[in-house]
């Protein structure tokens, strides 16, 4: 999967690129509007991660360019401006999603995967992980070919873990993913704990391996081995 990351802050860009490459993406970068414009005109990307505030231009214009060219790339806006107007304008212009800085890397990944899934496979895509099989469009989960019934939150939690295998997911990132970004994460740790406990129990009942590991004091990790 080929990504273009457009972000002017060097430190943030490097961290994001590292992270995305670790996640198995082919990731190219652009540090300003001109570079970004050149790249989107020359190459095809599966998804563009777009920062709105660039030193030499507005990211929204880049989005307009992309849409005017009929690009098939998905667009995920990342912006420090939480202004609702930006969000609405961005989504109106055809962006697939919008993340406000600062965000959790795991959240970024989950959203990217959702965008790419929607765009590329038109729903005929499944996620396989060890003895798990998930059909996201139908919201169906199978453990060793047996259907697994999950609540909405448990399902969301599982999908979030599956989007970031073998990575430590912080409690905060999980809380925000499940409750929306404005829920005070400190208030909701017991909430994650409850849902995780239930999810684990259901997986074990179906005979799945215990691959959700607790990282003490930090969060949880979906272990590949």
């Amino acid at each position: 999967m080929k990504l273009l990351l457009i972000e002017d802050e060097v430190a943030l860009r490097n961290t994001l690129v590292d992270y995305l490459r670790q996640g198995g993406y082919v990731c190219e970068v652009a540090g300003n509007y001109q570079q970004a414009l050149e790249k989107v005109k020359l190459y095809q990307y599966d998804c563009v991660v777009l920062d709105l505030t660039l030193p030499d231009g507005n990211g929204l214009n880049l989005l307009r360019e992309l849409k005017a060219d009929g690009s098939r790339a998905g667009v995920l806006i990342i912006s420090a401006r939480a202004a609702l107007d930006d969000r609405l304008v961005g989504l109106d212009l055809g962006a697939d999603d919008y993340l406000t800085k600062p965000f959790h890397l795991a959240e970024l990944n989950a959203r990217l995967r959702a965008i790419i899934r929607r765009r590329q496979f038109q729903g005929s895509h499944h996620i396989a992980f060890r003895d798990l099989l998930v059909w996201p469009e139908q919201a169906e989960v199978f453990v060793r070919e047996q259907p697994l019934v999950l609540t909405r939150k448990e399902y969301d939690l599982l999908l979030f873990l599956l989007a970031n295998p073998n990575r430590v997911l912080t409690k905060e990132a999980i809380a925000e993913h499940l409750c929306g970004d404005a829920v005070d994460s400190a208030d909701s740790f017991d909430f994650i704990y409850t849902h995780l406990k239930n999810l684990r129990k259901k997986l074990q009942e179906k005979g799945a391996d215990n691959y959700i590991r607790t990282m003490y004091g930090v969060g949880y990790k979906l272990s590949t081995e």
Binding site: P102, A106, F191
Partner: protein, 432 residues
Amino acid sequence: MKLLTKTNRYYLLLTTVLFVAASALLYYGLYGALQHEVEEQLFNRQVYLQRRVQRGADLPTSPFEYQMAVSARPRRVGYADTLLLDPQEQEMVPHRQLTFPLRVQGQLVWVTLRKSLVETEDVLAVVLGVMVSVLGLLLLGVVLLNRWLGQWLWAPFRTTLEVLRNYGVQQDQVLSFPPTSTDEFAELNQALTLLSHRLVAEYEAMREFTANAAHETQTPLAIMQAQLEQMLQLPELENPVLATLVSELYGATLRLSRLHQALTLLSKIENHQFADATPVKLDQLVAEKTAQFESLAEVRHVRLRTHIHGVPALHMHPGLADSLVHNLLQNAIKHNHRGGTIDLTLTPTHLEVCNTGPMVSGDPARFFERFRKHNAASDSPGLGLSIVQQICQYYGFAARYYFEPETSLHTLRVEFTPPTTVPAPAAPPAAG
């Protein structure tokens, strides 16, 4: 009282006083002059009679006997006023008379000469009438002229007032007035335009500063957060001591970022940067938000119930409406206990969140203060209710807090009446 009415009142007062004084002066002046004239005539006749008698002639007999009376008995000498019966008109007519002693052929008699004052009074009446009506017309003219001038001359001033009344700095516009030929008003308009230029520039600077500060702070926070998250993936972080350290650092970064977002929101509200209002369907918003909080409430064993008895017609910025409901609900869940309840009631006039919770001490009014925490060790910055209050203030709602010790029910009520909107046209989306 209107400036014009005030000035007019003084004008009128002065004119009336002058009018009365002038009328009195005119009356007495004219009356005196005419009387003097009559007395002079009477005196001339006296002199004539005295000369004639000195020459040895007899007193003449007047054809109008009432014009001259001769008496052998002494009379009061000098000028006097009297009323005599006019034989033709059969009415009493005022006369001026002059009495003097006269020796006629050795015999002393008192002669009284009289002259009618009727023509004098007629003249007086005519002159006075003309003068008074001219003065009266003048007075009326001044009043009418002033009124008309007031409407016409002060029209630019009223236009200026109207423009000022409709002016809001967040409209990002400089004041503009129609041109006026009156120097004073032109100067006033010019000064106001200049003032609005400065206001707009300063407002713009402040807004930019807030936006920049928000952006510039969020970016390093985003870097910190992302890098800490990456750091947590390192194999070295399997060490629980290190992991705890980094995770606490990570949590603190998140708190800082939250605090920063809340403060930015507060300052944005204070700077009136949420001018564009759209009709808000509060019932939908409440449903959305309760759905969002439901699972959290469930885990906490808190029963969340909504009672919708009507929907207020509100014009609000959608982001602020969201924030209002969000903070109310968050507050109710946070300060609740296991097995507690939250009752959210929406009526056309108010939104009320009533929840169980531990006893609180202190002045309820202070709960809306910034960084006010029930529990100092709490992770939350304590800005939720400040944001609620700030939003209420912005839209002219009233936010009230009650606590019932017997049932330990906390009630936060937002009263929408009077329904207020912020009249401002939609600002163009800021480009970045």
